[in-house]
């Protein structure tokens, strides 16, 4: 049965909703409308006037090889971040689920990285990998491998993927651990009696039962990699070298605030908006039809 609260006062409900609505309007709806408006305008070089240009900004985007390159980089980046963050979180969750002594400490420590702001996480990894004073490049150098992500695009991508995924591991870990603990022990025991070894038990019983959690996390991780990694990129590479880590959300900032191409930047935000709406729709649809065992 649906639970409903009925207000006798006609004004009170609206009064109670006002703060949330005000925040949403000022910080979400209004900027979104501004972006939509801006994306069909072209400014003169001095920002004194603007001109309505229909969809010229979008057409320019579609024809811009740098934008398509950034789209490709973003797809690779978010896929890699999601894969890395999900697999390591799953591995850690399985281990944490088996730990008996010191389990609480272990779990608490694994959750900590999530409390660290993306930009700070980026700085931590930057210091570790700094080509002139970082610990790891020094060690790698001793093994005969030169690390310099300021000039090597592949290394730069690797570093931002690592830094971005590291933070998300904690988030995924919590969900995977909860998912694992929700699987009745007797199921695993039944599989053991049926003759399945640990690996087989995992792939035929545990993993299928974690599938709903995994699917949910894939969507969440992709959204994270698309939008929340600005701080990481900004702190470590600023999109470089030569655009190797210039993901879409960073390019919006770069083109709009550094390059001062407001129209083109706004058009890019509109594209991002469409992507995030699509991902959210997938997630909600999925959650509604979520498989319940």
């Amino acid at each position: 049965m649906e639970k409903r609260v009925v207000f006798n006062n006609r004004v009170l409900p609206y009064l109670l909703l006002t703060p949330q609505l005000a925040v949403t309007l000022v910080f979400f709806i209004w900027p979104a409308v501004q972006a939509l408006k801006q994306s069909v305008l072209l400014e003169d070089p001095f920002g004194l006037s603007s001109q309505f240009v229909w969809f010229d900004n979008f057409i320019a985007l579609a024809e811009d090889p740098l934008y398509l390159e950034s789209l490709y980089i973003t797809a690779f980046f978010s896929g890699a971040v999601a894969l890395l963050a999900l697999t390591s979180a799953l591995y850690l969750a399985i281990q944490a689920d088996r730990v008996i002594r010191g389990a609480t400490l272990y779990k608490t420590m694994l959750i900590w990285p999530y409390a660290i702001a993306p930009a700070v996480a980026g700085i931590l990894w930057l210091l570790l990998f700094n080509p002139t004073m970082g610990l790891l490049p020094y060690a790698l150098g001793a093994m005969g491998y030169t690390w310099n992500h300021y000039t090597n695009g592949g290394q730069a991508q690797f570093l931002v993927i690592l830094a971005a995924a590291w933070r998300q591991v904690s988030y995924n870990f919590i969900f995977f651990l909860a998912g694992l603990q929700a699987i009745p022990k007797s199921l695993i025991e039944a599989a053991a009696i049926d003759g399945a070894g640990p690996a087989r038990r995992f792939w035929t019983v545990v993993f299928p039962l974690l599938a709903p959690t995994t699917f949910f996390l894939i969507v969440i991780n992709i959204i994270y990699a698309f939008f929340d990694t600005f701080g990481v990129i900004h702190a470590i590479t600023q999109g470089g070298p030569a655009g190797a880590t210039n993901i879409l959300v960073y390019k919006v900032f770069n083109d709009g605030f550094i390059g001062l191409d407001l129209g083109g930047s706004a058009a890019q935000s509109v594209v991002l908006m469409v992507i995030v709406i699509a991902l959210t729709v997938i997630q909600f649809r999925y959650i509604e039809r979520r498989v319940h065992y």
């Binding site: 007797s186 025991e189 039944a190 053991a192 399945a196 019983v205 039962l209 065992y293």
Partner: protein, 365 residues
């Protein structure tokens, strides 16, 4: 099919000993029921036989082979869990076929076995395609048993399989499990806390209390001659009445605190003369004294009457110390609170226990 031998089986959790040296030989094809209150170690014992718990001490052999160090899969057993433990993401068919596929049986053989088991358990073709969550409790129970049957194991292990079912279904499934075991003739070990299941299902009954075997034997023997006060109180419903009493000076009577004297059954109780005892009388063995058999026990003052239809349960008290007593009489008997009923009991229905050790007192041979 195989026999199962437990020799001085011990289980410790850290410093806590939960199973204190249990020994039992279960014959090939026998149905053994392990019964006891919650926390008595019965599930732990079963899980040790299954290989889901380490064995701290002693030896478990299945079919003459010591299995202490063997993985559950290598012990040739099948287990039915309390919550059924069906794989929720697999169809009924796949649930039953899972163990066979792992053992690498050919597809045709798997199909034959699954369909045969489904036939035995009356699981229709349409049901085989469903997922466990689309089944009723009784159907899930059947699938769990089907998963055990297809494996054709040496031993079936049941861990309170009926406790999640409603009362009516439980009676039905109890009968089916018994029939199934009779037809298949597979050695079975069945754990329950329900004494009706315990009485009706097994060839033999093991009563476990605090990790110690109180008594092991055919159910009716445990009912008729409980070895300890614990068994006497656990087997039978409503539970046996226990009274504080003393054996008379000449060893032929037992004296109740109210001053009543009951003749002891035939036998030499002289060795016990004058010692305090716990006297046990089953509610169903008390009869109205008017029938003239046996000897008057006491005049029971009725407190509460429960009419069950076939039977009437009367709860009351008697004697100077107002000892509580429950009586089970024929359903036609009516009594109101405050009525006084004269009751009798046959001497052979008296059970005497040592008040300290709880052991049964028998006449000297």
């Amino acid at each position: 099919m195989a026999e199962v031998n437990l020799r001085e089986v011990v289980k410790d959790y850290g410093d806590l000993r939960v199973i204190h040296g249990v020994s039992c030989d279960i014959r090939d094809g026998e149905f053994l029921v392990i019964v006891g209150p919650s926390g008595c170690g019965k599930s732990t014992l079963l899980r040790m036989i299954a290989g889901l718990e380490q064995i701290t001490g002693g030896e478990i052999a299945i079919g003459g082979r010591v299995v202490n160090e063997l993985e559950p899969a290598a012990r040739d057993i099948a287990m039915v869990f309390q919550n059924y433990a069906l794989y929720p993401h697999m169809s009924v068919y796949d649930n039953m076929a899972y163990g066979l596929r792992i053992r690498g049986l050919p597809k045709a053989e798997i199909d034959t076995r699954v369909r045969r088991a489904a036939g035995i358990l009356e699981l229709g073709e349409e049901l085989l395609r469903r997922k466990p969550r689309q089944l009723s409790g009784g159907q899930r129970q059947r699938v769990a048993m089907g998963r055990a049957i297809v494996r054709d194991p040496a031993v079936f292990l049941f861990d309170e399989p009926l406790s999640n079912l409603d009362a009516k279904l439980r009676v039905q499934m109890r009968l089916e499990i018994k029939k199934l075991q009779q037809n298949l003739g597979v050695t079975s070990i069945y754990v329950t806390h329900d004494q009706v299941e315990a009485m009706t299902l097994g060839h033999r009954l093991m009563v476990l209390n605090g990790g110690v075997v109180e008594q092991l034997g055919p159910p009716i023997a445990l009912y008729e001659r409980p070895a300890t006060r614990f068994v006497a109180g656990f087997i039978g419903s409503p539970a046996m009445n226990f009274l504080t009493a003393r054996i008379g000076a000449d060893g032929t009577t037992v004296d109740l605190p109210g001053g009543d004297r009951l003749p002891l059954p035939d036998g030499d109780f002289a060795a016990h003369a004058g010692r305090p005892v716990t006297l046990g009388i089953r509610p169903e063995h008390l009869e109205p004294a008017a029938e003239g058999i046996g000897v008057a026990v006491a005049h029971l003052t009725v407190v509460v009457t429960e009419q069950l239809g076939a039977d009437t349960l009367i709860h009351g008290h008697f004697g100077n110390d107002r000892s509580d007593l429950t009586v089970r009489l024929h359903g036609t008997v009516h009594a109101a609170a405050g009525d006084v009923l004269p009751l009798s009991v046959r001497p052979e229905h008296l059970h005497l226990f040592d008040p300290d050790s709880g052991r049964r007192l028998d006449p000297a041979a």
